[in-house]
Amino acid sequence: MKGKKTKKTKKKWLAVWGVIGLLFAGCGKTQTPPETQNPGEVTGVPEDTLLGYTYSKIYAPYQLGTCDVKAELVEPEDSELMVTKLLAGDSDYDFMMLSTDSSLATDILRTGAYYALNEIPEVAGLLDRYHDYIKEAATAENGDIWMIPCGVNVPFVLYREDVCEEFGLDFDNMTYTEFLEQVEALPKNGEHTFFTPYGLMTGDITSKFEQVYGYENMSESEKSLLRNYMEKMRVYDVPFNEGKWWFLSSEKTVSHLSEESMKKMIFELERSDNMTLSISLDFFRIDGFRAIELPDLEEGVDCPSGATVYFIVINPKSAKLEQTIEYVSQLCEKLQKDTSLPFRWMSRGEDFSDNALRQDIYRLISEAEVYATYPYDVVGAELMAYREGKQDFDTMITEIQRNIKMYKEE
C-alpha cells in the first residue's frame, strides 16, 4: 500500500514537472525574453565589426569606418563602463578613443593597460608625420608606442584684425590681466560682438596656470597671481545668457551670426577642433580673422599652447586582437595619406600660406605641448567651489594641495 502511494506521488510530481517543463519550453518558442544588458553595454554590433568605446564621438575622425576591417565607435551611456571594462580585462571591446586630458588616459599609460604598437610599421610611419610633441605623447617612458594620435585640440583667441585695430586691441604680448582690462573697457553698444564662454575662459586660464606653475608648491607670488585671475573670473565670467559681455546683435545665438555681423565680431575664445566641426561657423571663408595664443599669465613668462591629443588605444585583452591590429595598420596607412584639415594641422612641414587664419592655427598647433592634468575631483572641483563662493582662496589652495598629495601618494 505504502509503495503504491509513493509511486502515485512520484507520478504526480513527474506530471507537475512535465507541465512546468512544457510551459518553459512553450515560453521559449512563443516569446523571446528581452535581452538583459548592463547599463551602457553595447549590443547589436555585428560579429565582424570591431567595437571601440569613447567618451565623445564628436572628435572621432571620419576615417574610422573606412578601412576594410569594420569598426564602430560607441559612446556608452554610463562612461564609467569604460573604466570597469578596462579594469576587468574584458575582451569584448577592441579599442578605446580617449583624449590626453582624461585621467583614464593617464592611468592606462601608468598601468600599462595598452597593446604596444611598436611592431606595426604603419604606426611608426604615421607618427613620423606628426609634430614631435605629438610623437612624444604617443611614446611611453619605456619606449612603447601606446596610442595612435587621431586629432589635436588647442585653445586660442580668434579675433578680427580690423575691428581690434579700431579699438586699439593688440593681443600680442598681452597678459591675462591686461586682456581682461581691455575687454572690460570695450564699448557695450551691441554693435560689435565678443564671445567669452564660461568654460573656455575659466578652464583655459586655470589650465594654463596648471601648465606653467602647478599647485603643489606654490610661491606667494604665484598664489597672488592665481587669486588675481580667479577674482577676475568671478567678476567677469558670468553664466551663459546673462553675460554682460554678450552682444550678439538681434539673433541671440552665435550660430545664427550672419556674414555681416561676423565681420563686426571683435574676438572669441576658440579651440582648433571646433573650427573643423560641421556645427561651427566657417571662419576660414571670411577674410580678416586671425588666431593668436591665449594671453600669458605674467609678462615674460612665455608658455606654449596646451594641446589635447585624441587617440586610439588598443585593448590588450581584445578577443579580436589580430583583427584589431590589422585594422590599426590599415587606419594608420590611411591617416598617413589623409589631407583633411585636422590631419594637416597635426603634420610637420605643411604650408597654409593661402589662408592667414589656417596658417595662424597651424603655427599654434605646431608649437603646442601636451601636459598632464589632474582629475576634476583633485583640482577642478576646488576651483569651482571658490568661484561659487563656497570657500575662500586660502582654503582652496590648501585643499588642492592636500588633494594632489592624496592623489599621488594614496
Partner: protein
C-alpha cells in the same frame, strides 16, 4: 535518515551554487589579483602588494577612520536601537506603526537624505554628520531585530523577578540583557559590517573622492584605486578589509555563544 540528509544536501545545492558563483569565485579572483603585478602582465609577486598597501600612509589613515567609526558610531547605534526598542515595547498598541516608521530611513534614497543633511548641518565639514547619517540609515533594521527579540521574552520571568523585588534598570540588566544578548551581539556585528560599507553617504555628503582626512575611510581608498585602475592595491586592501571583518565576526560569534543562555 540517510535519504533525509541527501534531500537536505540536494536542496542546498542551488543556494550553494549561488554563493559560490557570486561570492566565493569573485573573492578568489580578488585574492589572485592581489598577488600579481597587474592584470595585464599577470606576473606573480607574492605579498608585495600587501606590503605596499600596508605601508601606505593613506591606507593606514583609512583603516584608522574605519575603526574609529566602529568604536564611536556602532556602540551609539546599538544603544540607541536598544533604547528605542524598549520604548516601542512599552508603547502598546502603537508600537507596530512606529516600528514601520523606523524602516523609512532605509527606504528613502541616500541622495535625498544627504540633501536634507547638508541643509541641517549647514554643509559642515566635520565627521559627525556622516556618523549620524550612518546611525540614521541603519537604526531601523536594528530596532526590528531587537523588537523581535523582545517579543520572544516571556512575561512570567519578569513577573517572578518583580516578585523577588527587581524593578526598572535592575530588571533589564539582570533579565532582559542576558536573554537578548545573542540578538544584541548580532546587531553589533551587523553594525560593524555595515560600518565598513559606509561610502555612499560620505561621498554624497562631501561630494568628492578626496573628503576631509577624518572621513577618508577604506571604501574611499578602494574606490580611488578603482578609478586609478590600480586593481592590485584595490584587491589587497579589499582582502585585508575582509580579514579584519572576519576576525571581528569570529570574535563576535564566539562571544555570542558564550553569552547564549
Amino acid at each position: 535518515m540517510k535519504k533525509y540528509l541527501l534531500k537536505c544536501r540536494l536542496l542546498l545545492i542551488p543556494s550553494l551554487f549561488g554563493v559560490a558563483l557570486f561570492y566565493v569565485l569573485p573573492y578568489v579572483r580578488v585574492i589572485y589579483y592581489s598577488l600579481i603585478e597587474n592584470q595585464f602582465s599577470r606576473k606573480f609577486v607574492g605579498v608585495q602588494n600587501y606590503e605596499k598597501v600596508f605601508q601606505n600612509e593613506y591606507f593606514r589613515l583609512a583603516l584608522k577612520n574605519s575603526l574609529l567609526l566602529i568604536v564611536i558610531a556602532v556602540p551609539v547605534l546599538v544603544v540607541a536601537a536598544f533604547l528605542l526598542s524598549l520604548l516601542l515595547l512599552k508603547m502598546k498598541g502603537y508600537w507596530k506603526l512606529l516600528r514601520i516608521a523606523f524602516i523609512f530611513p532605509m527606504l528613502v534614497p541616500t541622495a535625498s537624505v544627504v540633501v536634507v543633511w547638508r541643509t541641517l548641518f549647514d554643509g559642515s565639514e566635520s565627521v559627525w554628520p556622516v556618523y549620524l547619517l550612518f546611525i540614521y540609515k541603519n537604526i531601523g533594521l536594528l530596532i526590528i531585530l531587537l523588537s523581535a527579540a523582545f517579543s520572544t521574552l516571556e512575561g512570567d520571568i519578569y513577573e517572578a523577578a518583580r516578585l523577588d523585588g527587581a524593578c526598572g534598570f535592575v530588571l533589564h540588566r539582570k533579565i532582559t540583557l542576558p536573554l537578548i544578548s545573542p540578538t544584541l551581539l548580532f546587531t553589533v556585528l551587523i553594525g560593524v559590517v555595515y560600518s565598513f560599507k559606509v561610502f555612499r553617504e560620505s561621498y554624497l555628503y562631501f561630494g568628492t573622492s578626496y573628503p576631509p582626512d577624518h572621513s577618508y575611510t577604506l571604501q574611499y581608498y578602494m574606490n580611488n584605486h578603482f578609478y586609478k585602475l590600480n586593481y592590485q592595491n584595490l584587491a589587497s586592501a579589499a582582502v585585508m578589509t575582509s580579514l579584519i571583518v572576519a576576525v571581528i565576526v569570529v570574535v563576535g560569534v564566539r562571544l555570542q555563544k558564550k553569552f547564549t543562555v
